[in-house]
């Protein structure tokens, strides 16, 4: 909420001309989210500092135009209890462009000769939220030639166990043209905060390109910067990076699956996702299934593969998450499909612990990396719903082999591959469960490994292929 820019250039009070703000007065500017005040704590020929103080109105944020009681993008913006009034965020970028607009675009009426000149500056931000911590802060600013001082703050000194907050009082020192300093702040403050108060659209790509001109393409963290600046909109990120890095590099956003999260990150080096899909498809072919339902289809990767295979005359996907289904609809371009393939595809919301007539009548059901998300107490309900009630001729269930977790470099011991996993089974546990289920419901089951077989720990994932007896 406070940005002070100080210089020891002589005469230091030239800062007032560079910023187009008179050191003699407190000046206030109305902004959409509150007010900005500019004043000078120091204004001597030796040292001059200009303070930009943001006065963010939290009630206005909630009740302002557009934002209903639950509206707004970032969840924290919907709250009155909000750090926005106290931190440097995308609001600061807006204030920079509106209050220091001339300086940001490199204009000075009174001191044009100083605009291009490298001057000694010291910028202090109180406070700057840094998602990614001090390390990330340094990785952002140090490659740009800044000396960085960062003072962290505890969440609550009365509760030391709560640890440090993400807020830092940060001082950046560099000899640089003022415009560059402001540009860096304009782009990197929201990147550190990693939250935007406005919807990120196409014109943000333009802004990023304009303000990143001349430095962003060379920045070692450029991918992260673009991704965060564009608030994880992978499509936009791809567009920005493609235009930023003109040579033919591999698509940086291919690694940017919306849903993939940590599990994919853990497993990716093995290409496990692809192997799993291939194994499931092969098992479906072997079973001669024509009508297949993918239970817990997520964003529809397997459904898409099934649709692309003419062997499967009818394909359905069910998931409990309406968001995942919306993504699946996008991925599968359901509306376009409707014209040609629509008859073949059904997507619907449902859950594996409620009996559901809609999942009956398929030759095969696939349950790929799903059961481990269920509360173990509800496995019995799942079992009855699928094996007892729907009773497709073939059921394919895959789930991680927890033994193999030891082989994942980045996975701390004892942790599951995904925070939402309720359990992960050993080979023996999975096999025991599979045989019990098969016996209880007149199925036979064969358990097969998926992925590279570790001589001691087995495969990373295991698959049970159940056939109705």
């Amino acid at each position: 909420m406070l940005l002070t820019i100080a210089t020891t250039h002589r005469p230091a009070t030239d800062l007032g001309y560079l910023l187009h703000k008179n050191p003699a007065r407190v000046q206030s500017f109305p902004l959409s989210f509150g007010r900005a005040h500019v004043f000078y704590p120091e204004a001597t020929p030796e040292r001059c500092s200009a303070a930009l103080l943001l006065d963010v109105d939290p009630v206005g944020l909630v009740r302002g135009r557009g934002a209903g009681p639950t509206g707004g993008d970032g969840a924290s913006l919907a709250q009155y209890v909000n750090d926005r009034p106290y931190v440097a965020s995308s609001f600061l970028s807006v204030a920079l462009s509106q209050v220091y607009g001339s300086a940001l675009s490199g204009r000075s009426k009174e001191r044009p000769e100083l605009v291009e000149q490298e001057l000694p500056f010291e910028a202090t931000l109180a406070v700057l939220p840094c998602r990614g911590g001090e390390g990330f802060l340094r990785r952002l600013f140090e490659p740009l030639g800044y000396g960085v001082t960062a003072q962290g703050h505890p969440l609550d000194e009365q509760f030391p166990a709560w640890g440090q907050s993400r807020y830092f009082t940060v001082t950046l020192r560099a000899t640089t043209p003022l415009q560059r300093l402001l540009t860096h702040l304009y782009v990197l403050v929201p990147v550190l905060d990693d939250e935007k108060h406005y919807w990120v659209g196409e014109d943000e790509v333009q802004k990023l390109l304009r303000h990143g001109a001349g430095w962003l393409a060379m920045h070692p963290q450029r991918e992260q910067i673009a991704r965060r600046y564009l608030r994880h909109q992978s499509r936009l990120t791809r567009a920005a990076l493609a235009r930023l890095v003109e040579e033919d590099t591999p698509d940086p956003a291919a690694a940017d699956e919306v849903h993939a999260g940590e599990e994919a990150a853990v497993e990716r080096p093995l290409g496990l996702d692809e192997q799993r899909q291939a194994a499931v498809m092969a098992a479906l072919h072997a079973a001669g299934a024509r009508r297949v339902i993918d239970l817990g289809c997520g964003e529809g990767k397997l459904v898409q593969a099934l649709l692309n295979d003419p062997a499967f005359g009818e394909v359905a996907g069910m998931d409990v998450s309406s968001r995942a289904l919306a993504l699946a609809e996008q991925r599968l371009d359901v509306e376009r499909l409707a014209a040609s393939n629509g008859q073949r595809l059904r997507l619907f919301q449902g859950t594996l612990t409620y009996r559901d007539r809609r999942i009956e009548g398929y030759d095969a059901a696939t349950v790929v990396e799903v059961i481990e998300h269920l509360d173990p107490a509800r496995l019995r309900a799942f079992e009855r719903v699928l094996f007892g009630e729907a009773r497709p001729a073939t059921v394919i269930v895959t789930t991680p082999n927890v033994e193999y977790n030891a082989r994942f470099e980045h996975l701390p011991a004892g942790r599951f591959r995904h925070h939402d996993h309720q359990f992960e089974w050993t080979r023996a546990e999975f096999e025991a469960w599979a045989h019990d289920v098969a016996a209880r419901h007149s199925y036979t089951v064969q358990v097969a490994p998926i992925g590279p077989l570790d001589p001691e720990l087995g495969p990373p994932t295991q698959m049970g292929v159940f056939r109705r007896g």
Binding site: L2, A24, R25, V26, H37, F39, Y40, P41, E42, A43, S49, A51, L53, P58, V59, G68, P69, T70, S76, Q79, Y80, V81, N82, D83, P85, Y86, V87, T124, A126, V127, H153, L155, D156, F159, A161, W162, S165, R166, Y167, T169, V320, S321, S322, Q349, G350, T351, L352, T353, Y354, R355, D356, R357, R358, D375, A377, R378, A381, R384, G388, E389
Partner: protein, 897 residues
Amino acid sequence: MAEPVAPDPSTGEAPRAAREPVRLTIPELSLVVLIGASSSGKSTFARRHFLPTEVLSSDACRALVSDDENSLDATGDAFEVLHAIAAKRLARGRLTVVDATNVQPEARRPLVALARAHYVQPVAIVFDLPEKLCQERSRQRPDRDFGAHVIRRQAMALRRSLRGLAGEGFRQVHVLHSPDEAGTAVVERQRLRCNRTDLGGPFDIIGDVHGCFDELVTLLQTLGYGVAMTAGENAHPGFDVQPPEGRRAVFLGDLVDRGPRSPDVLRLVMPMAAAGTALVVVGNHDDKLRRKLAGRDVQLTHGLAETLAQLEPESPAFKEQVATFIDGLTSHYVLDGGRLVVAHAGMKAEMQGRATGRVRDFALYGETTGEIDEFGLPVRLNWAADYRDKAMVVYGHTPVPAARWVNNTIDVDTGCVFGGRLTALRYPEKELVSVPAARVYYAPARPLVSTTTPAGSGADAGASETPARDPQLLDAGDVLGRHVVETRLHHSVTIREEQSAAALEVMSRFAADPRWLIYLPPTMSPGETSRQPGLLEHPAEALAYYRREGLAQVVCEEKHMGSRAVLVVCRTPDVARRRFGVEVDGDDIHGGTAAGICHTRTGRHFFEDRALERAVLTRVAAAVERAGLWGELETDWLCLDAELMPWSVKAQALLQEQYAAVGAAARAALPTALDALAQAAARSNDGADGGAAALLARYQTRLVDAERFVAAYRRYCWPVHSLADLKLAPFHLLASEGAVHVGRDHVWHMETLARLAAVDPELFLATPYKVVSLADDASMQDAIAWWEALTLRGGEGIVVKPLDVVARGRRGLLQPAIKCRGREYLRIIYGPEYTEPEQLERLRQRSLAAKRSLALREFALGMEGLHRLVEGAPLYRVHECVFGVLALESEPVDPRL
């Protein structure tokens, strides 16, 4: 088949005298198919005898789909629409008339199929009028331009059809032979014999007697019937049975076979039926006896031989009487305005109140797969497990060890003849009365043992079931889509489709096992916004609300700042299994002996650590034990609504990510800003303007606000290392076996629960409360002063409740509770600086209407679920309410209210 099924004798017979109007008798629920050439007067006839909405005309359907009722190329679409509407009407039990020419067999075939699919009788009314007349009328209609050949062809097709109509499946065929007959005919709707919705009870519904005369007499006497022996005929006594005032017996069939005294049972029941003191539905054994008596060739198995031997000495007249009696029995009865259905082997929802051969088959035998099990008995489909209708179904046929409710159905055949008991269900009391069999009269084909899980399984000892559907298994259809839940407190509550979708996700991803979720607490509204300076909320508004609504007294309870917790506490794991159908390990390594759940207001387990949860429950159960409440409430489980402290135990993430974070940011940023402003203000002494000083003052206030904010949340936080650091403040004893404690006032709840704190003050916190008289200003001032003192000390505030749990005012149900939160506490809700005048003024603009309406609907749903649980309703009926609360919570209401 008891209903009139014979084709109408008028078919093809000579025309009656013209002056005598023809009476067309049709079942009140049937599919009436008008058959006749164009212009034969069908529509006129239909208009005269049926409601406009009962008549589906092909011409009207053509117009519906094409704007032209004569458009022949719209015919296919028009009939698709017609059939679709007819199907919906028949499914809803509405008489439907199809006004189309219907002269071709292929036009009639789908209509007959439709009637069959909905278990209603297809009735044909044929307009066999002279072709010349039709041609003449057609010429006079300017809108009909098709040629004479069309009508000629139709008339020919009609005549070819006449003889075959009965064979096509029309159970009644009425033919009108002249315009005069058509013009004067009278349509009489005949009530179906199964329709006795006019009889409201009370009833005593008695299961399969199977000739167990002694047990029947004992049961009747137990039920308060006077049974006297009278002089009968042929050296046989007669029986005179006098029911208790206003009551009526209902026999579920299978009066005969296997048992020792079938003729006496008949001798007792038949006069009751004749006198109207008993209703009787037919059972498969009765029906088989009828066929035997009618001279049919039937196997003398399953106890029929015994009956025949017992009938041997009886007079032919008695046998004749028996045959007539059984022949006159109906398949099932729909009683009490449709709320009760009785049938021998049960009755699916879509068959209730209908009378066809398939309905009768179902009533006699239930639904079987056609397979035979290893005992030689038919494999049954468990229709009751899928039953979802509102009408209660009472049936017998399949002997069970004990009568149990399954989805609002109950099998009361407890195998008396096999040495079990003879059972009656008292309706509407829903009370089971039974007497034991004197001995085993007949060996069952398979042992009478319960093999399945508790709480409403359809244990079926006389036949094997298809792979048993767990009656506790929920169906997506129970909750998905738009739903209306009937509540006894507050009309019906509608759950919208998108609300269901949101709740489904939360319920299946995060919530605990639905068998444990019997209640979710309703949201609570604050009082009207206070106009007092510096305050948003104050008790005066809440008190005024209840006084305005005419209440004399309210209870003010201190509001503890923790997290909402609902506890279901079972005395032992056995209770959990028996009452809730949840298997819980008996021996817990941490010494947990009780079972149950402690969950949050959205149905998540309160503690991720199940051992800790078990420990809490065990501790609570021990306190209930010591306080003597198990015995006093005659229960072995109870459900508590409570506040669990500290707030930090559940809200750790929220505290750290939001509250502490905001405090940290403010307390780190503001001093830096103050330094800078102080420097600038100091410079202003050298000639700059006074703006810096004003800003400085403003930011100093903001820092004070931030410090107060941090102090506010800190009060509700303390580290929790074990159970010893937790505090539980129960404030509502929601339910226990047999009772939802809505009849007890809040003082009872407070005092009863205080006894837990008395025996275990380490864990429990008794909630301080005050009873306030709304007629007494001093009493109200006292409550306000109490609130001021509490909130000054940093307390969250108070909750004001009507003295009675359920209170009604001028416009119906009143808010069950209103919260009045303290000034400092509200910083956590509205932000550190909400007390600054310019913020406060804007915050006063808050609308409570949505929140209040939500609170009422959720309260009604929550209580409804508990009532249903206590009454022994199946899981889905309870879950529907709990799910509803969760679904309503997805409503976008200002979360700060």
